[in-house]
Symmetry: C2
Subunit: 405 residues, 2 copies
C-alpha cells in the first residue's frame, strides 16, 4: 500500500478526555476514529489488525471443533424473560430500543440456547461447539479506557453444549489450551495468566485470562512459579486452601482481562427447555459452557503492554503491515516496493511528499515490526531496523527481501 493513497493521516491533536494510552496512540496513528465516549470506528490500519486477530482466533477455535455462525444483534425480549434477565436490575448494561421492543445483544446465551432446541434432541447430537464474531452492545457508564471498555465491541463468543459435566469439563480444559495458543500468537503469551475468578451456581470458579499491565483495571494475586493467579474479588483463605496456594508466594499485580470462560451448567438450558434424550430415552437438560474474547480489547492490550514513548510496537502476527518502506527522496523506493510486492510481503510504502523527520516519526508511531529506509546516503543498500531495536543494519535489496519474508 502506498502511503500517499492511504486516506488516513496521523494526528497531532486528540479528542478531549482521551486518557487511555491505547486510545491515544491508536487515534494519533489513524487506526481508530472516536465517534463518542466509548464508541470507536476502525480505520483501515486498525481494521487490518482487528482482522488478523479474528483470523488467529478463528483458526484456533476451528481446530478444537468450533462451528462458526452469525447471530442477530436485535434480540427478542421473550426469551430473556424466560431466564429472568430482561430487566435492567438483572443486567445493568442493557441497551434496548425505544419502548423496550428489542434488546441489543449484550451477550448471546439466551438466543443460542433457544436456537439449539432445533438441533439437539438426542445424545447423538452432542457435543456441539458453536461460535461467532459479533458485536456486543453494553451501556458502560465509565467508558474512559479506550478500546479496553467500550459501549460496542466485536466479541468472539463460543458456546459448548454437552451431555454431562464430565464432557463439559474435558472441553473446558481444551479451550484453556486454545486460549493460551491465541494469546501466544498475538504476542501476549508471556504476560498472560490463568486466573481464578467468581463462579456461579453451577461452578465454584470461572476462569479469566489476565495480562499483567500497570494500567489494567483488575487486581490479581499471582503465583508466578505455578503460573496461576487469583482475582482479588474472590481472594480469601478458603480459596487459597482450595487451590493449594501459599499466600507468601503471591504477588499483587495490575492486569487486563483478555478472556474469560464459564461453566454455565444448566442455568440456561433449564429455563429455555433445551433437553436431550439419553440412550434409555430419559430427558436431561443440556450442560453448557461459554467462552469469550473481546477482539478490540486484545488489540488495546497489545498496545498497552508493548508501546514505547514513540508509538506502538506490533508483533508480526497482527501488525497492520509487516514492513514499512520509507524513501527519503521521491522514487528511491519504487523498485524495492515492487520486489517486496512480488514476494507477497505486506508493505506500507511511504512515498509521500514529507520531511524525513515526519516520515520516521510516523513510522515509529504506526509501529510495523520492520522499517526499511532508502535515501541518497544508503546508496545501493537499505537501512533495515526492527521497531523494537535501537540498532540498524545495511543490507542489499535481496538480503532485505529475505529479511522481510
Amino acid at each position: 500500500m502506498k502511503q500517499s493513497t492511504l486516506y488516513t493521516k496521523t494526528r497531532k491533536t486528540l479528542p478531549k478526555d482521551e486518557v487511555a494510552r491505547n486510545a491515544q496512540l491508536l487515534l494519533k496513528a489513524g487506526f481508530l476514529h472516536k465517534e463518542m465516549a466509548g464508541v470507536y470506528s476502525y480505520l483501515p490500519l486498525g481494521l487490518r489488525v482487528l482482522k488478523k486477530i479474528e483470523a488467529i482466533i478463528r483458526e484456533e477455535i476451528n481446530s478444537i471443533g468450533g462451528q462458526e455462525l452469525f447471530m442477530s444483534a436485535l434480540q427478542d425480549p421473550e426469551i430473556w424473560r424466560k431466564t429472568d434477565r430482561w430487566s435492567d436490575g438483572a443486567i445493568d448494561v442493557w441497551f434496548k430500543t425505544r419502548e423496550e421492543r428489542f434488546g441489543l445483544s449484550n451477550t448471546h446465551e439466551e438466543p443460542i440456547t433457544a436456537q439449539m432446541s432445533h438441533h439437539i434432541q438426542s445424545y447423538k447430537d452432542l457435543p456441539i461447539y458453536a461460535y461467532q464474531f459479533q458485536t456486543k452492545f453494553r451501556n458502560e457508564p465509565r467508558a474512559k479506557s479506550g478500546l479496553l471498555r467500550t459501549k460496542e465491541f466485536v466479541m468472539k463468543d463460543l458456546y459448548s453444549f454437552s451431555a454431562n459435566e464430565d464432557d463439559l469439563n474435558k472441553f473446558y480444559e481444551i479451550v484453556k489450551k486454545a486460549y493460551m495458543k491465541i494469546f501466544n500468537r498475538v504476542g501476549l503469551g508471556q504476560n498472560t495468566y490463568l486466573t481464578f475468578a467468581s463462579g456461579g451456581p453451577f461452578s465454584k470458579y470461572s476462569h479469566e485470562f489476565q495480562t499483567l499491565c500497570e494500567t489494567g483495571e483488575d487486581t490479581i494475586f499471582l503465583d508466578k512459579k505455578k503460573k496461576i493467579a487469583i482475582n482479588k474479588e474472590v481472594m480469601n483463605q478458603a480459596v487459597l486452601k482450595d487451590l493449594g496456594i501459599n499466600k507468601k508466594d503471591l504477588k499483587e499485580e495490575k492486569a487486563i482481562e483478555v478472556g474469560n470462560i464459564f461453566k454455565l451448567g444448566t442455568k440456561f438450558s433449564k429455563p429455555l427447555g433445551l433437553m436431550y434424550k439419553d440412550k434409555q430415552g430419559r430427558e436431561h437438560p443440556v450442560v453448557m459452557g461459554s467462552y469469550g474474547i473481546g477482539l478490540g480489547r486484545l488489540m488495546a492490550t497489545v498496545v498497552e503492554v508493548s508501546a514505547d514513548d514513540n508509538g506502538m510496537i506490533w508483533p508480526e502476527s497482527i501488525a497492520p503491515y509487516k514492513v514499512h518502506l520509507i524513501e527519503l527522496k521521491k522514487g528511491l523506493g519504487t523498485e524495492l516496493y515492487k520486489k517486496l510486492m512480488q514476494s507477497n510481503v505486506e508493505v506500507l510504502y511511504d512515498d509521500r511528499d514529507a520531511s524525513a523527520g515526519e516520515k520516521l516519526k510516523d513510522a515509529d508511531l504506526i509501529g510495523t515490526p520492520l522499517r526499511l529506509l532508502v535515501s541518497e546516503k544508503t546508496g545501493n543498500k537499505v537501512e533495515v531496523k526492527k521497531r523494537n531495536s535501537k540498532t540498524s543494519k545495511f543490507l542489499t535489496q535481496n538480503e532485505t527481501i529475505q529479511e522481510s519474508l
Copy 2:
C-alpha cells in the same frame, strides 16, 4: 466437513407466517435461524455463503481503489441533527435506544462525512473511496420477504469523496462496471439490469441494479436490447424522452433491487462542513457519492431466481460447499473424502446414519453444485451429478476429483 458433525439439521416444519420462498428454503436447509419477524441468524452453511459473497465484493471494491474500514453501529444524534435527519419524520425506519440517546446505524453517510474532516483538507487528499461491511438496522414495518427485507442486515456501503462533479461522474461509471462484475460473479449477471430511479436535489436520477424475478417487490420497464430499465416510480414521458427510449420497446417486469448507487453531491458535506482547499486556496465542499449492496438480499435473490421444487441451486462461486459427497453405506465414501480434502476441494461429506431417500432429498435441498454418490451399486465408480442437471455420469475416483476441482 463431515455432515454427521455439522450441528444443523434440515427441518420439515417452518415458522408460521414464513411465506417467502428464500426464507422457506434457507430455513428448511438449516442456513438460517429465525429470531423474530424480519430478524435472522446465519447458521454455518448460510454464513459460508454470506462470507463468499463478502469476499467477492471486497475483491471488486478493492480493485477500484476502495479502502475498507468498520464504523460503529451506535451513532451520535448530534451529527444527524446537523443534516436534519434525526427525526422519525425524516427517516421512518430509525431504531433508537431508549430516551433517543443513540441511533442505530440505518446508514452511515453522516458519520463517515464527519470523520472525513480529519483526513480531507486539501485537493491533494482527494479522491477517497472508503467502504465497509457493517450491519444496518431498519425498523421495517412489513418484514415478510425473508432475507429480502429485514430489520437487520449486513451491507457493503461505499462512499466516494471527490473534488468536483466530473471526478464523481467518472468514479460513478467505474462503480457501475464493478457492480456488474459482482452480480456476474454471484450468478445474477444475466438477469440484472441497470435501472434509472429517482434522484435527489443533486442528480436527476440514481441507479438501481434490478434482477428480474416474479417474486420481486419492484416493478421496472425494461428495454432488453439496450439493457436499460426504468423504475416504475419515475416512469413518464419526460423520462423516456430524456433517455431516448421508445415506450413500445419496454416490457413491464417484476424485479428485486440488488444494488443502488447515488450521486450525493454536497448534500452531506455542506451541513457537516466537509470542505477542501483547491490549488488557489479557495474552499469548496467535497462532492460525494454512495454505493450500497445488501449481502443477505443478494443471497436471497440467488435463491429466488434459481431454486427448483426440490431446493436451492447454488452457483459454484458462492455455494457453501462445492461438492456434496454421499455414501449410501457406512464408510464407502471415506477414501474419496480424504482425496478430495487433499486436493483442497470444499466438500460436505454425508456420512450420517440416514436413509438413501433422506440423504438425496437433503442434498437437493442444500443445493451444492456437484453431487457425488457412492454405493454398493456404483462399485469402483462414482455417480457424478450436477445439481442443475437431470442426468448423471459414472466416473473413476481420479476423474471425479478432476471434475470437482
